[in-house]
Every structure is written in C-alpha cells, then in structure tokens.
C-alpha cells in the first residue's frame, strides 16, 4: 500500500460528484416523448430505424400543430441493446418529464423496462413482438405491430394451402423474440397436422450458419420457417444460398426487411415473409406517402421498424388529443378496445385496433423478395 490514500479518496469524491451535476429543466409549452431504443449494439439496425420513423412522425405532428396544441420534443436515449441500461433510461426519461415512452424494440429490454413505465403510469409504445409482453397485465404497454402469437398463426394457411407442406423445418434465434415465435409456430403446425422435422436453434450474434443449414438440408423439409433478428437472418440467407437450400424460406416480418436484403444481397432473393406492415405496400396511400418522405429525409428505404416507430408517435398524438389532457390512466382507458380507422386518422396508415391488453391487430401482407426488393404477393386480413 502507498501513502496516497487521501488523494485516492479525493479522486473518488470527484468521480461520484460529477453525475450530481446532471439534470435538465423543462419548458411548459412543449410535451416530451422519450425515445428509448437500441441505437448501438446488436439491436442498432432495428433501433435506429425505429428512431428515424418516430423522428419523421414528430416533425409531421409538429407541422400539424403538435400534441394538445403544444410543440413535441423527443429526446433520445440509447439502451446499447442492454436490458438493464434500458430500464435505467426509461426511468431517466420519466424523471425528465416525458408523457410517453416510444420504445424499446427488443423484447428482452421491453420486458424489463415496461415495469418502470407501469409504476409511473406512463403510456409506452413498443416495437417488441414477444407474446409475453401483453400477458403481464400491464395496462400501459401497447404494441405497434402484432405480437408473434398473432403474426405467426397468420402464416399457417400459407404453409398449409399455398405451399401444401407436409413436413417443415424451423430455424430460430434463441432469445425471447426467437423462442416466442418458434413455440407458437410449432404449436400451429401441430394443429394443422404438419410435421416439424428439424428444429435448429442458433445464438444471437452467431456468424456461422453452415452447420444449421446443413442440418436442415439433410432433414429435407418442404419449407423452412426462419425466425431470427436482422443480422442473423441475413447470415442465414447467405449460407442457405451457398449450400443451395432448395425449399422455400418463409419468415415472419424480419426475413424480407430492407436491412436484411441490404446485408444478404442477392442471397435474399426468393425469401418470403408475412409482415405486419411494409413500406412496399404502396397501394395503401398512407404507406406510399410515408415511404416517400422517409426516403427523402434519410436517403434510404424505411423498414417495418421505421413504420412502427412512426405509428407509435402518431398513436400517442391521436390518443392524447382524444383524451384532451396528459393523463396516463385516462390514456390507458382510451387505448383499450380502441380502433383507429385510417380514413379518419390517415397517419395510422391502416385500420388498427388495440385490445384490452395492448395487443394490436390490423391487416397484414405476404411479401417475397424479387430482384433485390420485397414485393407484396398477398394480403392477410386482421386476426
């Protein structure tokens, strides 16, 4: 030990005193929405699109007079794709006076941070699709896309009637998101009388899918259900092309996303997915307008996460204006069982309903990647 203890102690004092200087004032003529999302780390492809969609919506809401006639500000909070950080940040956003939380996208984070929003009666629009999120009896959490327990069953008719599959495989990422979807899919296939002949679990951030694809190839199913996050989906598609996997690859939402296509290149061609909402569904006027202004602003194509963030902000505006004041409890009451028609609320894009648990339903699409971009090949009614 050396003789410098007092100096060490001073250092320590400084290092704990610095954060005390944090803290911000807030203006009364604005309302704040807290954007808590995966802006760095494994979730960044989803989180940054979510943010940009939300940003676009905030600009439009402000142009349309704001929320309750007040200007909207949206401070951003980066969770680093770490659930514990996300919890701290939801707390921070609430401390700083936000009226609603926009985020998070990753289910693992949402499962943690939604407890904080609930304790503070703050409405929270999430981009997460794990079934468990709306099953916890939290009245303040609302989805911006249907949960996996709704999205995956919408695929069953496609496997059964369109592909006429007798035996299928499932390749999934072993996290909350992947496991939720995989469990629903296996149950659905059982109900439909289709055999699941291969069940290939992979890790989050896995880079080598050679073994997984080889395993699927040797089981030779009629079709494969691929349920992974963006980067993993892209790597899987590249490996599938390398090994010339012959059967159709069908996913839910992520598999045909812009980010996946960008990463996988031409390996993504032919991939099919059921998507809750897609920027390629340009026959819907709201979506066409959204896709255009997103591309004009950010110089890239929007993903479904961008649409989700956009819808989250607009839903906050519509519902807060409906309630007529900032009141979390009243917001929750209004949200449950609410249906917003696209005809009356154009920025909600499609007729959208929330049930008494915050689950969402709206019409959805089947898309397939053709020549490097996803093309709508069918519509699935709201379920």
């Amino acid at each position: 030990m050396t003789r410098s203890h007092r100096y060490r102690s001073l250092l320590l004092a400084v290092s704990i005193a610095v954060p005390a200087a944090l803290g911000t004032a807030q203006a009364a003529d604005t309302v704040k929405l807290g954007l808590v999302a995966e802006l760095s780390g494994a979730g960044a492809p989803a989180g940054t699109n979510w943010r940009d969609g939300a940003k676009l919506a905030v600009a439009e809401v402000n142009a349309a007079g704001g929320i309750l006639g007040k200007k909207v500000e949206m401070p951003e909070y980066d969770t680093q794709t770490d659930p514990q950080v996300s919890r701290a940040l939801v707390q921070k956003a609430i401390d700083e006076g936000v009226i609603a939380i926009i985020g998070t996208v990753y289910s693992g984070s949402t499962m943690v941070n939604m407890l904080v929003a609930k304790q503070n009666s703050i409405p929270q629009f999430v981009g997460s699709e794990a079934p468990a999120i709306v099953e916890k009896g939290n009245p303040f959490v609302y989805r911006t896309s249907s949960g996996a327990q709704k999205g995956v069953p919408a695929l069953t008719p496609y496997f059964k009637d369109t592909l006429k599959a007798k035996k299928v495989g499932v390749a999934w990422v072993n996290n909350e998101f992947g496991k939720g979807g995989r469990n629903v899919f296996i149950a659905e296939m059982k109900k439909a009388g289709i055999d699941v002949v291969v069940d290939a679990a992979s890790e989050q951030a896995q880079t080598d899918y050679a073994a997984d694809v080889a395993k699927i190839k040797s089981a030779n199913p009629d079709a494969v259900f691929v349920y992974m996050n963006q980067e993993e989906s892209a790597r899987f598609l590249i490996e599938a092309k390398k090994q010339a996997l012959p059967m159709p690859l069908v996913g839910e939402v992520t598999l045909t996303e812009a980010k996946v296509i960008e990463l996988a290149g031409n390996a993504a061609d032919g991939a099919i997915a059921h998507v809750g909402v897609t920027a390629t569904a340009t026959e819907v006027p709201g979506i066409a307008a959204f896709a255009k202004s997103f591309e004009d602003t950010f110089k890239r194509k929007p993903t479904h996460d961008a649409i989700k963030g956009y819808v989250g902000v607009w839903a906050t505006k519509y519902v807060t204006d409906k309630v007529g004041k900032v009141d979390g409890e009243a917001f929750a009451k209004t949200m449950h069982g609410l249906c917003l028609k696209a005809a009356d609320h154009p920025k909600i894009l499609l007729d959208t309903c929330w049930d008494d648990r915050g689950e969402m339903s709206r019409p959805s699409f089947m898309v397939q990647v053709k020549g490097g971009s996803p093309v709508v090949i069918g519509t699935v009614p709201a379920n």
Binding site: L12, I16, Q91
Partner: protein, 331 residues
Amino acid sequence: MRGLSVRDVWRSVAIALLLVAAILLPIGQKNYIIYVLTSWLIFTIAAMGLNLTLGYAGQISLAQASFMAIGAYVTALLTLAGWHWLAALPPALIISFVVGLILGYPALRVKGHFLAFVTLAFNTLVFLVLRNEDWLTGGTYGLSGMPRPDFGLFSTDKHLPFYYFTLGITVIAALALWGIVRSPWGRAFKALRENPVRAESLGVDTRRVTLLAFAIGSVYGGLAGALITPLVQFIEPGSFGLAHSLRILLMVVVGGAGYFFGPFIGAAVVILLPEVLRFTEGYYLIIYSALVIVMLVFVPSGLIGVWGRLKAKVWPKQQVRTDMAEGAGLQ
C-alpha cells in the same frame, strides 16, 4: 498499542467524508441518478471480489458475471418463493462459495491465460444452463417481479431507501474485505501474487490460499448478484454473459488492481462515465472507449495509481518498493 499516524488520521477523515458524500449524494436527485448510483455500488462489490482474486492473489478470472448470476438467480428463486431477502442471502452466498471452490479446484491447476480460458468457458456454461433450463430459470424470458426487502419500518420499495440499503451492504462488504486483506490470508494472497515459488518455500500452502481467494472473490460476485435481483426486479441470462465479466475485469484494471479503493473508481468509470458523457449523444460510446484506451495506455496500474505517481514525481520523499506499490499487472 500503536499510536495513529498522521496518515491514518487523514485516511479515516477522508473515508468518513466520502461516506457522508455517499449518503448525501442521492438526496434530491431523480430516480434515474439514484438507480445508476445503486448499480455503481453493486458493481463495486462485484469488482471488489475480482480485485481480491486478481489484484491481491494474481489469478485472472473471466467468470465474475457468472457468480453474479448464481447469486442473482438463487435470491430471485427464493424471494419469489416467499423467502425474505435476508433469508435468501446466505444460501446465495454459500452456493457461490461452493461453486467457486468446485470451479477453482481444477481450474487453479492452470495459470494466467489458461485460467482465463477455463473461467471464460465456465461463464459460457452458466449462461447456457440459465438459458436452457427453463423449468427452473425461466429460460430466455428470465424471472421477474422479485420483491425488494422490507424491514418493517424500513421498506426498500422506493429507490432512495434501496440505495441506502445497498450502501449499507457495500460498507459491510468493504469492511469485511479490509479485514481479509489485512489478515494472514491477505498477506498470503499478496505473497502468492508477487512470487508463488518464494511464497511456497516460506510455507504458504499456495493451492489452498489460491482456492480461498478465488472462492471469496466468488462470494462477492454472488453478493452483487443478490443485490441486482431486487434492484432490477428482472433477471435474464443475457445480463450475465461474458461481456459483463469483461466489464467487471475492466473496472478492476481501470481502477487499479490490487488497490483497496480501485474497484470504487473502476466501477465509477465503467458505470457512471458513459452516463456523464451522454450529452455528446451519438459520440458518447466512442469518447468513452477512447478514454478507456488512453487510461490503459498511460496509467496501466489504474487510475488510483495516478496521484501516487504524480506525487512521487513532484515531491519525492520516501522510496517505496515499486513491486509492492504497483498493482498486479495482467501477465
């Protein structure tokens, strides 16, 4: 009885002032800052444990997060089953200690990088068990809704009381560690770090002492885990992955391995610095990483060594044996 030197008085006053600062700091702060300060204290405890293993006994471990996981899951399962947190704590610590011993016994046959790899594998193993054994651990969905301890008149449900509760535990843990490093064991740990062959020739049972340092370090990990459970009230395997073990290692190294107060500073840098830098928005992680690199390049013995070095340069007084003054390096 030996009289107190000026230095000892200074030290006691500084520690007392710091404690007062730690008590006053969160008052009037918003929940977010209190939450971050609480996680700083908890990670300090985990880093104290690793500091004992690495800084004092010279054994590099990449499994500290897995001991946090063990402490966290044992506490979570027991408190969810209706046990009081205080009742759940001893099993959590005992299991961490026993697992530390069981892992340490074969692992400590190897040293340096090889030990790092063995502990790394163990960390991955714990992660996989937590994720795959859904029936017990809830798998990837984790466990949620763990109650915070309630002591009759003092309920820790709110953030501020929970901070004080954590502070109390941290002080107790620090005092216990202070006792350990000053005990014959502590001396043996240091002897082992400096020169294992000589230590053995002086009659130190190196195998037993290393194992003990490892197991006690694991108990501190378990204690930190037992506190994370009521703080976050949600645990999942991803929170205890290898990256978190590396973060705890970073805390020990940045703070100053082998220095008693090193973990406090190291945890402050790793937990608080990114939060302080958040005002730079998109750049904060870049700045943070750059700062860490600069620190490690210029002060490899940790931040706590900075003042001692500066002082020795400006005001040289008494020659301290450099091998004892510096913390253990990572070789």
